[in-house]
């Protein structure tokens, strides 16, 4: 920074707390907002506050939503007997973009990670179990991430859900569509070979 101004430093710090933002980017964003027309800063701060005020967790699936229940949970055309469990809203959004999934979601808001102090009670697992007991669910698809934490969370859930007699599936690991095999990383390819399926 060329000058020292406590208010600017506070703004930079605020940006730095956001995921994926380093020191340089934080400074660039702050300086941009300060040199751009005042309306732009106004627009941003209002948009942040308004979104914060309107968005909450869906009382059914825990996804972020403006209406409760969320549009997916409220949509009768969607298959209520299938629930896809994801770690974060971004996961549900990614699957939704794919367009192939017609069931409902459940967002855990994290994965088991003792290092970060996240145990079963920190996740929305109780809410999921209540849903499974109350609704007529036939299949739970575990779509947690392919990390150690995501895998463990999937194992934990599968054990709890299996006790209820509901089918549990785990999403497949595989090769990206439209990509040559040579572009997939070795671990993904090894998984893809292991998880191969018969040609129908």
């Amino acid at each position: 920074m060329l000058f020292s101004a406590p208010s600017v430093e506070r703004l930079v710090e605020a940006f730095r707390r956001l995921p994926g933002i380093g020191k340089r980017t934080a400074e660039r964003l702050a300086l941009h907002l300060l040199s751009a027309p005042e309306e732009e800063a106004q627009l941003l701060s209002e948009a942040v506050l308004e979104a914060r005020a309107r968005v909450r967790q869906c009382s059914v699936c825990c996804n972020l939503t403006e209406t409760d229940p969320c549009p997916v949970c409220a949509d009768d055309r969607r298959d209520a007997a299938t629930i896809c469990v994801v770690e974060r809203p971004a996961g549900a959004m990614a699957i939704e973009k794919g367009g192939a999934y017609r069931g409902r979601y459940h967002v855990l808001h994290g994965a088991l990670s003792p290092i970060e102090g996240i145990g079963p009670s920190e996740l929305r697992i109780d809410r999921l179990m209540r849903r499974l007991e109350e609704d007529a669910v036939r299949e739970v698809i575990l779509a947690t991430n392919a990390t150690a934490e995501g895998e463990v969370t999937a194992t934990y859930l599968s054990q709890k859900i299996a006790a209820l007699g509901i089918a549990v599936t785990r999403i497949a690991h595989g090769v990206p569509m439209g990509g040559g095999l040579e572009f997939a990383d070795d671990a993904t390819l090894a998984h893809a070979i292991e998880g191969r399926t018969p040609v129908r």
């Binding site: 088991l112 990670s113 003792p114 290092i115 145990g119 079963p120 990390t147 150690a148 934490e149 895998e151 463990v152 969370t153 194992t155 934990y156 054990q159 990383d185 070795d186 671990a187 090894a190």
Partner: protein
């Protein structure tokens, strides 16, 4: 495969060095602290992103500098590989053939190297941790799925240990980490067993060539036997693990025994035998990598000649296949082994400056 060209900038005492070795035997001569080992270390670091001397990367830039750059060009049967490694104030950026790499697994195996330095006698004399480190690095270079399993296992182990330190550990929660450890642990154990069995055959052959008559053998000593279930072992030791707040059983406690004349070399072999055994293990790694990858890795031998008498030095050189590119350092300035006559490339390094003789 062979290294064609290495550029070092601000790496250790190598301010600005270009090294262009020949595809076969290269001898780098120089006194102590002139930069011989640093030159080999530069090749190792470019190829594996690791140093054999330190885990603290901030020790690698030249004294007073806050950055270094390495560039390595190698020829493989399949074509040229170009690795660029830039370190700037704690941040490392690696490019392979101009493409930025974010994961270690994407770098390992591009240029395979086998490195031997005098401290590697600890493979035989030192603790189990050193042998595990060797195994993990050697297998990861030739079997990428091993590295993936190892990284998942290590992460699960960190998580489980953290859970064991909690005020009131939740048994159901520990059990799922056990399942994770068992899954990836099984991959590690199977690959380690296969690797050590193959390594043992090659090492026995190399040992006979360089040292003499006594038979050498390597025996895998897994912490949890392969016919036992790791999941069951973890479950049985859970209460005790909670008391001690650490995961006491599993592949992270594995070892392998080095046997000379059927006795543990660690306690029963002479210093000379221990050195020869360590060297034989490295030569075995080289031969095994060739079987798995299809061509020989680059062999680097740091200061091995000084410790061997003329006869053993000769036997060592005879044991190395002429197809192997070997980068060898020595403090001996006169050419008592007749390298020049044998057609080897000779280099001399002095105060960080390299010259071809």
């Amino acid at each position: 495969m062979y290294v064609q060209r290495v550029e070092c900038r601000l790496f250790r005492c190598l301010e600005n060095v270009i090294f262009e070795p020949e595809p076969a035997l290269n001898i780098i001569r120089g006194g102590n602290a002139q930069g011989k080992t640093s030159l080999l270390e530069a090749v190792l670091f470019a190829a594996t992103s690791k140093s054999h001397r330190t885990n603290v990367e901030s020790e690698l830039p030249q004294y007073g500098a806050d950055q270094f750059q390495l560039r390595l060009r190698a020829q493989r049967d399949t074509g040229a590989v170009d690795i660029e490694s830039r370190w700037f104030r704690g941040t490392k950026r690696i490019k392979v053939n101009g493409v930025p790499q974010t994961r270690l697994s994407d770098l390992l195996g591009r240029v395979n190297v086998v490195f031997f330095s005098p401290e590697d006698v600890d493979l035989v004399r030192g603790g189990a941790a050193q042998r595990r480190r060797f195994l993990d690095m050697a297998i990861s270079q030739v079997q990428p799925p091993y590295l993936a399993a190892l990284q998942m296992y290590r992460q699960a182990l960190r998580q489980r240990n953290e859970l064991l330190r909690a005020a009131q550990p939740d048994h159901d929660h520990i059990a799922v980490w056990d399942a994770q450890l068992a899954q990836y642990g099984a991959v590690m154990t199977a690959q380690r067993a296969a690797f050590i069995a193959a390594l043992s055959d090659h090492a026995a052959r190399a040992y006979t060539q360089i040292a003499g008559a006594e038979p050498l053998a390597l025996e895998y000593a897994p912490d949890v036997r392969m016919d036992e279930s790791l999941a069951a072992v973890l479950e049985r030791s859970r209460t005790s693990d909670i008391k001690r707040r650490v995961t006491q059983r599993g592949p992270h406690r594995d070892d392998f025994a080095v046997l000379v004349d059927a006795r543990p070399a660690r306690s029963h072999a002479s210093q000379g035998q221990q050195k020869s055994a360590a060297l034989a293990i490295k030569l075995a790694e080289l031969a095994l990598a060739r079987e798995r990858v299809g061509e020989y890795p680059v062999l680097m031998l740091d200061e091995v000649l000084a410790e061997l008498d003329a006869q053993r030095a000769r036997r060592l050189l005879d044991a190395i296949d002429p197809q192997v590119q070997c980068l060898m350092t020595t403090t001996e300035l006169e050419d008592r082994h007749g390298f020049r006559d044998a057609g080897s490339a000779l280099f001399r390094i002095e105060r960080g400056r390299l010259e071809k003789d």
